[in-house]
């Protein structure tokens, strides 16, 4: 309770269904800062759920509450404090510098001094290992560096709830894990709720505090990684029995390995 000064949970939804995917109602409540992963097979409605939660799509039934209010009716001035959003395919202009790209996240801080803005951008750039590229333009950096800068724009906003749609796409395995670890560290350090969609069940198992597992045409599940990264829910959701083993270092987590030729077909 002491985690949350306001009486409202950071994010909650009741009986939520959407137009595409997410046909069975979902009821969840996230009172405390955490890293929440949305997982599920292609077409199960991960992106739809994320967009419903942040108010970009209208629910078919049910309601979403961000800090106790409907995100769709949140006044524009307050919106950047309540939510921040990184779409699956973020857009940019090749002429922006990375500094500019990240500073877009400070748009709402009209009263911040120039010095405060500069130091925030610098801080974010170095947290993402992008400090040497501060004045590089979008067309002069690699896909992975650009992806990290986009995540930086969403994080610098310091919104109560941060929504990231596949922030790990197009990154190699090492960068994926480093970025997810950073996202987790920041959401705990800055006491915010971060909701991400991801395909990598192993990272979901090792890093997410809570998971929502979506099943095409079936009921969504909400639980801890320990509950959901297990044979029964994954078989229902993906239509294929997973091969799970205990992680050699994090022994209370299970990870998925390919089943090998004998399990397919």
């Amino acid at each position: 309770m002491s985690d949350q000064p306001s009486a409202h949970p950071l994010l909650s939804c009741e009986g939520l269904t959407g137009a595409f995917g997410l046909t069975s109602p979902l009821t969840v409540r996230f009172p405390r800062p955490a890293l929440v992963g949305i997982i599920g097979p292609n077409g199960a409605g991960k992106t739809t759920l994320l967009r419903l939660l942040l108010g970009l799509e209208r629910p078919v039934s049910g309601a979403v509450r961000l800090l106790g209010e409907d995100p769709r009716s949140c006044p524009p001035q307050r919106r950047p404090r309540v939510l921040s959003y990184l779409p699956q395919s973020p857009l940019s202009s090749p002429h922006w510098t990375l500094t500019e790209l990240i500073s877009q996240g400070l748009n709402a801080q009209v009263h911040a001094t120039q010095t405060a803005r500069v130091s925030q951008v610098q801080h974010t750039l170095s947290a993402l290992d992008l400090a040497p590229l501060a004045t590089r333009r979008v067309c002069e950096v690699s896909g992975g560096e650009l992806r990290r800068a986009f995540v930086g724009r969403a994080l610098i906003q310091r919104a109560a709830v941060t929504f990231l749609d596949e922030p790990l796409a197009h990154l190699d395995w090492a960068q994926r894990e480093a970025l997810l670890a950073l996202i987790k560290r920041l959401s705990h350090a800055e006491r915010r709720l971060t909701v991400i969609t991801l395909h990598d069940l192993n990272l979901a198992s090792l890093y997410c505090d809570e998971l929502i597992l979506l099943t095409p045409n079936g009921a969504p599940h909400h639980g801890s990684p320990d509950e959901l990264i297990s044979t029964a829910p994954l078989t229902t959701a993906y239509g294929q029995a997973p091969t799970l083993i205990q992680h050699p270092l994090c022994t209370d987590h299970k990870v998925l390995v390919p089943g090998g030729p004998s399990t397919v077909g």
Binding site: H95, A108, E140, Q157
Partner: protein, 354 residues
């Protein structure tokens, strides 16, 4: 090597000044102002009548009330012509930049919203129905201005959906309505028996022959619209990140769309009413500016206004070198076309244009 030396200095220097604007644009500012002075000088000195430097200075000193030929030439022909080009070019440049940002489309130009064809149809209808001679000189600008605003209103209404205006719809409806209105314009001109040389000349664009009163009207419409766009520059910049991201960053997306469209219709409608359809300036100016304001992207609209104005004034000055009067659209088309091809050629290595 370069990136390491940037490490400590860079963010501080790129974030000073206007909303997160950098210092890199200073050169662009002085270059643009220098070109502006050059355009003004060229506008005052070039022309069919040969004036000595003495006559020129004398005429400038005596002001617009003198009655000697140099005075009349400077104050009633050359200066209004150069000022018209500066104002119209600035309006077209700012509108082009705003629409390119709003639609995230490098091909967007100020005439995207049917303002040119709507204005043209209005003018042609006024001409062919004969009201032009009966009501007077103001009928042409008024009818084309009304035509321009009506076509913009039509596009805006057509693209309206339950939850706001869809930008994709706006672009598609704009293209379709432009084609439709152009066909109607050609139809009107073909069926009309009146003398239509005036309409054709106007359709190709002109900056000459405006009285100071007309110039004042043009300047008011342009200033109002351009300042609205300049005020929106930060929000329009965020539109380049996509409408939904702009929404999440606190931009009032529907208000920005509405104000941008009306400011553009007002500005470009005013330009079309007095100067006809001057092509290429609104498309070119932002493309020239965008790669050169490294780190100060929020200044795209003011700089596009500066370079649009200066560019059109230079084109106009070049046009006076021709032995016969040329429609300014021909000059902007030729110079703009070549410059644009050159810009595209140079940018091939750095991917797309927006």
């Amino acid at each position: 090597m370069a990136q390491i030396s940037h490490q400590t200095q860079a963010p501080t220097t790129t974030l000073r000044g206007d909303p997160l604007a950098g210092e890199g644009h200073r050169g662009l500012l002085w270059f643009g102002l220098g070109l502006g002075v050059l355009a003004l000088l060229a506008g005052l000195t070039l022309g069919r009548a040969e004036l000595s430097a003495r006559e020129l200075l004398n005429a400038l000193w005596h002001g617009p009330w003198g009655s000697e030929p140099p005075c009349l030439i400077i104050w009633w022909l050359r200066l209004p012509q150069t000022l018209t080009a500066l104002i119209a070019g600035a309006a077209l440049g700012a509108s082009g930049a705003a629409l390119q940002s709003l639609f995230r489309n490098p091909l967007a130009d100020p005439y995207l919203l049917g303002v040119s064809s709507g204005g043209g149809l209005g003018a042609a209808l006024a001409f062919s129905s004969g009201v032009i001679t009966s009501v007077g000189l103001w009928t042409l600008p008024m009818s084309s201005f009304v035509g321009a605003l009506l076509s913009c209103a039509l596009i805006y209404t057509w693209a309206w959906r339950s939850n706001g205006v869809s930008l994709e719809q706006l672009i598609l409806v704009g293209v379709a309505l432009n084609l439709l209105l152009s066909a109607l314009l050609t139809l009107t001109l073909s069926l009309s028996e009146a003398q239509l040389g005036g309409v054709w000349r106007w359709l190709l664009g002109r900056v000459d022959g405006l009285s100071w009163v007309e110039l004042a009207w043009l300047a008011s419409a342009s200033a109002l619209g351009t300042l609205t766009l300049v005020k929106q520059r930060a929000s329009l910049w965020l539109f380049e990140a996509g409408e939904e991201v702009a929404w999440s960053l606190g931009v009032e997306v529907e208000r920005v769309k509405r104000q941008t469209l009306w400011a553009t219709a007002l500005t470009v409608g005013g330009v079309v009413a007095f100067c006809g359809v001057i092509g290429f300036v609104g498309l070119m100016a932002p493309h020239f500016v965008r790669p050169r304001i490294r780190g100060s992207s929020t200044l795209l609209i003011p700089y596009s206004a500066l370079y649009g104005g200066v560019g059109l004034a230079l084109c106009e000055a070049v046009g006076r070198l021709s032995p016969r009067p040329l429609p300014i659209g021909v000059i902007t088309g030729c110079l703009g076309g070549f410059t644009f091809l050159w810009v595209i050629h140079r940018q091939r290595s750095t991917r797309d244009l927006i």
